[in-house]
Symmetry: C6
Subunit: 75 residues, 6 copies
C-alpha cells in the first residue's frame, strides 16, 4: 500500500467505486496494525464473527459515501 | 454479485432505493467473508441477536443516505 | 411493510419526518429478520437493554438526517 | 413528548440547537421503549457505564449535525 | 458548561475547531450524566479502555465534521 | 501534537489527505488519554483485537470524509 498509495477518488463506475471503498477500509486497518503477519492471523476472527462482519460493512458504507460523493454519484 | 456488480445508484423510487441500500450492505459483508457457506452458517446468529439486527439496520441507514442523495431524494 | 413499501421521503413536518425515520429503522431490521414471530420474541430484549436502546436511537438519528435533508429541513 | 411533538428544527442559537439534539436523541429511545417506568429503571445503568455514555454522546453528535445544518450553522 | 453554553460554531482555525469538537463531545456526556463526581469516577475507566478511547475519538470525528462544515473548512 | 497542532485541512492529494485523517483520529484518542505512557501500553491491545481495528478504521473513515470534502475530493 505504501508503495502504491491513494492516487485518486475518481472511478469509472459505481462498482469500481465500491472496490475503492473496500481499499480505503483496509487502509484504515493497515495503519493501525502495520504487520501483515498479525493481520493474516486476525482475518479468520473477522470473517466468522457476525459483529465484526457488520462493523466492517459499516466502515465500507462510510467510505462509499465519500467515494460516491467524489464521483457525483456517477450520474 | 461479482457477476452482476453495481451498475448504478439511480433507482425509480424510494422503495427500490432502499432495496439497493440493502444490497450495498450485503456486498460489504461479502467482501469480508467471500464464502457463501460460512455466511449461511452465520446468518441465524445475525438474525436472532438484537445487537446484530440493530447494527445491520445502521449499515443500511448509512447506505440509504448515499442512495437517497444520489437520487436527489426522489423529489 | 412489503405491502405498503416506501413511497416518498417527503413529509408535512418534522414530527412526521421523525416517524418516517423510525419506519426506515424498522425496515432495516425487518429485511435482516423477516420473521415477525422472531422479532416479537426479541423486542423485550431490545427494550430493556441500554446499549440496544442507544444503538436504536443512533439508527433513527441517521435516518432522520436523510429525511430532514430530503425535506430541506422543513424550512 | 407525544403531546408536544417536534415542531421545528430551527433554533435561535447553537446552545438551543444542542438542546434540540438532546431531545431528538431521547425521542429515539422513547419510540423503542415507550414505558417511562422502564426507562427510569434503566437510566442509572446508562449514566454510570462509560460505553453507554460515549454511545449517547455519539447519538447527540449525529442529531446535532442535522440541527446545525438545518440552521445553516447559525452563521 | 451551563454557565457558558455554546455561543458559536465559528472558530479562527482548524485547531480551535478541533477543540470545539472535543467540547461538544463532552457536552453530550454531561447531559447524560450531569454529576461531575460520577464523571470523575468514570474517567479512569474511559482512559484505559481501548474500546472507549476509540469510541470517544469517533464522537469527536462526528462533531469535527459539523464544526469544519460550519467554518467552510477554514479555506 | 500540542506543539504542532492542526494548521490546515488542505492537502496536496488523497494520500496525504488520508494521512491527515489518521492524524485527526489519533488526536481524538490523545485528548481523552493524554498520557503517552498509557497509550503505548494500550497500543498492543488495539492492534491485535479485530473489533478495535475495525472501530479504528471507522474513525479514520469519518475523518477522511471531512478531509476529502475540505479538498473538494481533489478533483
Amino acid at each position: 500500500m505504501s508503495n502504491v498509495g491513494l492516487e485518486s477518488l475518481q472511478t469509472a463506475n459505481p462498482q469500481e467505486g465500491y472496490e475503492l471503498a473496500i481499499k480505503l477500509s483496509r487502509m484504515g486497518v493497515k495503519y493501525t496494525q502495520p504487520s501483515e503477519e498479525v493481520r493474516n492471523k486476525l482475518r479468520p476472527m473477522y470473517g466468522e464473527d457476525p459483529t465484526s462482519l457488520i462493523a466492517s460493512s459499516q466502515v465500507v458504507a462510510t467510505n462509499f459515501q465519500t467515494v460516491a460523493t467524489a464521483n457525483n454519484y456517477w450520474k
